[in-house]
Amino acid sequence: MLETILYQLFTGVFRASYYWLIASGLTLIFGVTRVVNFAHATFFVLGGYVALTVYELTNNFIATVLISALVVSLVAVLSETSLLRPLYRIESIYQLLMTFALTLIINDLSKFIWGAESRSIPLPKELSTIVSVGTRPFPLFYFLVIGLSIASLFLLYYLIEKTFWGLKVRATWRDIFVAESLRINTRRIFTATFFIGSLLAGFGGATMVAFTPVAPGLGDSLIITAFIIVVIAGLGNLFGAFVSSLMIGMLESLLVLYIPEVDILLIFVIMTAVLLVRPWGIFGER
């Protein structure tokens, strides 16, 4: 009984890693650019699709993941500079709508290029080796994903808190007008933020296809979960997003086991409750 719970919790941590890979970029982008990137989960799914093709070409898992992540972030950067930049000086709702338009376009283009059926890539043998947690078997792959997610958290933390470039990002985050008056190139910071955020998302999607097939429409539901995670934590809060991802990931895993009918509902109730009582998030500041 306890073991089943622990097993579910561990699976939950695995899920949470994927949520984190999406939520991190989402909250980072919002924090710096104040854009709510509706298309972020679409980037994640795009990573999965690109991985399908890259794997066919290279047959190498590592190369696939790295290249796919890069491709996705390039797409994101291209979109940001061509579509979002013209809208920065007007109300943020238009940027949100633009990211929504981007989702529509990428969704259908994905369907067009890769077809509508679900597809996946095989897991490389080395990563399929079973490691036991207690008496339950888990593929090494799980640990890799979890490990990389934690690593990304620390990498992001280091990048933003300990580097000079990170200082510029934080300045932009705090007050964009002052940052600009200090001759910080906020346009470039925006683009770089999109790059980093989408890199993580694309990376997540690319690794995901090794154990779950990718299908169109996956992004539509993922973005909602990602929103919930980010909003509960507080928009723009990285550590909060990590904790929140863990919470939601584990909660979902447990609920799936015990009360499956309630899962989506409960999560929405939580988000609604948080928004009503503490709209700046559990970890956010007013």
């Binding site: 579509l83 376009i105 509902l265």
Partner: protein
Amino acid sequence: MGFTGDRFIIYLASLFMIFSVFATSYNIVFGYLKHVSFGHSLFYAAGAYGVALLTTKLVPDMMLGILSGIALATLLAVAVGALTLRHSSIYFAMLTLAFAMLFYSLLLKWRNFTGGSDGISGIPRSSFLFTLSSIENYYPLLFVFFLASMILLNWVDVSRFGLLLKALGDNEDRFKFTGLSVYRYKLSGFMVSGFFSGLAGSLYALLLRAVTPDIAYWTTAAEPLIMTLLGGAQYFLGPSVGAFIFVIITTLTARVAEYWQLFMGVVLVALLLGARGGVLDLVERLWGRKF
């Protein structure tokens, strides 16, 4: 659905009328109050499911069904509005999204009551005095509702109430100097919007004679937004023009290819980059005179 020729045109026209009411009522919150709501699919679906539930489980009378649909939608509008309108725009948008998705998951999960993902079908189009089984017969009634709604909505638009709502959206701080309650006016506007969105949903349910949970999904909530942007939010007829274009485009592209999302996305991009005032704004600029 087996539609051919004339019946199909009637179907499209019906869709147009329903969307027109939906989008115009949406514009009360979006254009007048300048709040972006992603939750209007909630009211639309409430109207639809209200009709469906009443007519299939209690009284198979479509007029009563419409009444219950509107009642449910308006009630929800008051509840949701009370909870969300005190928050700033971004949280308002996300909260409305959350509520819409909450309703969606409720509809999806409560199989016994709402039919789950299969929804409810077999909605009767009959009342005490008449039965409108064919779509050609339903059309006149639909038209009457459409006309009445548009007249009422236009009345709101030109009334003092409408003017105050627009003033509120324009500059909330300045509105406070009038001494009127910001919150109460926002809530009233939201309620009116929910009322007509619910009506649109009810009429939609009667058109299709079936409802499924996906009309509550957030992507449905984006449709009146796109229509309003398409036509122009600053005009009363903007959302209707947008609804017209939307119906044409989605039908055309759905018949040519399944990639209507792509087309919609591209249209949206073009609008956002080049014509934020919508089609009517473009027309006005080209025509050189004011509407």
